[in-house]
Every structure is written in structure tokens, then in C-alpha cells.
Symmetry: C2
Subunit: 207 residues, 2 copies
Amino acid sequence: MQHLKLDDVMNMERRKRATLINYLSGFKSANLIGTKNSTGQLNVAVFNSVVHIGANPPYFGFILRPVNVPRHTYQYINETGYYTINHIHKSFYQAAHQTSAKYDTDVSEFEAVGITPEFRGDFFAPYVAESHIQMGLELKEIHRIECNGTFLIIGKILEIWLPDNSVTMDGHIDLSQQGTVAIGGLDTYYEAHKLNRLEYARLQKNA
Amino acid sequence: MQHLKLDDVMNMERRKRATLINYLSGFKSANLIGTKNSTGQLNVAVFNSVVHIGANPPYFGFILRPVNVPRHTYQYINETGYYTINHIHKSFYQAAHQTSAKYDTDVSEFEAVGITPEFRGDFFAPYVAESHIQMGLELKEIHRIECNGTFLIIGKILEIWLPDNSVTMDGHIDLSQQGTVAIGGLDTYYEAHKLNRLEYARLQKNA
């Protein structure tokens, strides 16, 4: 096996190091976060760091790197308190990825990449019409991570939109069937195939 | 489409709600975290929340729910400052999942589920021998998430073990080829197939 010590990693060319380390956490979620500022400017950006925080009540977090991603997501959430999280599907992952380009402040990434904003009821932030698993969230907590200045943004899920009959009696969703994709590294997109649904792990007899 | 408001989610049966919400963040990383306490007791537990925090220097985070996962991971990391993160592959995901059962304090989950602890050099915490993408980390920060009492644990990667020739010249790893799996919900395991590696997103001409 190959052994990379911290010094080896720190001596890598910057882009190579970023690529390698981004693969090492394993597969990542692929979501678009939609926001709107107080003057009505819309923003949408791809995030691969949405993470489950809790179900009762439902909270999600995501990691925001002010240096590498558009600051608009952070600004607009901070300013208004609302945002949407929308699954990226196989049908539009290329357009979703393109939202990570550095557009000017007065450009809506929705228009620039050809993704459709969708307003539902009186929810403040725009959903992504191309996504059929959509959540509307309210900002709850921001944690600044001291070691490198990134932020963990935590929100409460206020509403969920998803296809009729997509949730089983016991709460399962077939993510493959929905076409939801996964991300590896910074820019590699994957479709997934179910291996198995395992039972809730209990102590084994004679173990 | 189906519209679930927060009240609908809160009125669901507890297990169904946990299952549903756990699917909604999208695909998750599948890792085993290995720890050892000061008296030499070993622990290993499955986590689906390892998330990239930064590459320069390399930091990973994970979410720890004291209520639902063995507290040993938290105790041992807090006590010793070291832990390992090991990819779960298709070849042993069933055994890896079984680590989430509630074993007694004096039981090593390694022995109980048939996973092999591996000590490398003088690194304090045990790696998982069945995993061929292994990282050794040092604890850097613990953030308590106020809204539900979970923790974000952040560590610095001190060393990486991975197969010879598994990293390309520009830092890519083929996670599918390595057999690394993804998790959906709490208990559904997936293998992934690459759709495409996209280019770094730049502004499009005429866009």
C-alpha cells in the first residue's frame, strides 16, 4: 500500500491535494441550494456537503467555504433566514455543476445555467423545478470552524415536496429510482444501485 | 407532488420519520471509525456523516449523535485525541453495518462482527484491515449543535493509506473501482457507477 504522511499531502500541488482529499471522505450528497435576497435577486449553487443532523425535529447541515463557493448563498441565508435544498438528478447534473462557476453578483445562476426557479406557496426561497425532492428550510445555527474558517450552517426543514407514492409505509425512498446522483471528489458524478437494505443491527445470538 | 409540512413530519411514527429524513439529504459516505481507549479497549463503529472540511491542511468532520450511536467513539476520541476513518467496501458492508448494534462496554465491536483491527507504525488508533482506504486523524475541534445536542467532531488527517497506483497524477481516485459503497437512509447500501467527470466550472462564453 501507499503511505502518505501529512508532509507528503502538504507538499502536493494545490489542485491535486484538493482533488485527492475531496475523494477520501467517500461518496457525497449532491444538492442545489436555492436562495433569494431582500431585493429579489435569486441564487442557486451546488453543494456536496449536506449532512443529516437530526430527524426529531428535522435538521440538516451543510459546510460552506467562503473562499471556494459563491458567497451569495451565505449572504442571502444570513440576510433572509430561508433556503431550499433540492436533490440533483441524473437528468440535469451537468447544469447543476455549472452553478459552481464564479458568476457576477447581478447574474442569477438559475438563468445562467438554465435551471428553473420555482416558488411554492408563500415560501420565501426558490425551489429548483427540475428537482423532484425539494425541502424548504429555516436557518437555525451557524458554527464557525476555527481551524480553517469554514462554516457549518444548520437549518430546520419546514416543508418537503416529493413525488406521489415515493415514500413507503415505513419511510423509505428509492434514491436510485428517483435518479438522485452522488458526487466523488469535486467534480465526478455517480449513479447508484442498491446492494441491499439491511435490518436494524441488533446483538446477534451467540455473538 | 406530495407536500409534507413540518407538522406532518412531527406527527409521523418515530422510526418512520427517522428513516424518511435520513434519505432526504441524499447519498452519504460509508465509513468505519476506529478508536482505542487508554486501557487498550478497541472500538469500531459505522458512520454515514463524514464530511469534507478542508484540504489545506486536510480536515474531515463527522456528526455524532450521543443517543443513537455507541458513545465509545466519542469517549475514546475525547480521551486519547486519535481515531481512524476507513472506507466501507462492497466486500464487507454487512459486517460494517452490524457495528451499529448496542454492544456492552467490554465488548470490542471488531471481534463481535468479525472485522480485523490493524495497527500501523506508531499510530495510536486501530485501522480496519478489510478497508484499503484508511486515514489516521488527530482531534482538532468539537462543536456542540445547540438545536438537538449532537456534536460535530473535526480532525486533521495525519496519514493516509491507500492502494498503490490508486491515485492519478492529478489526484483522482476511482471510488467505484475501489468498491467503496454509499449509504441511503439509515440502512440501505449502494454501489456507484461513474456517470462523468465534469470540468472545473468556468463562465461560459455567450452565457
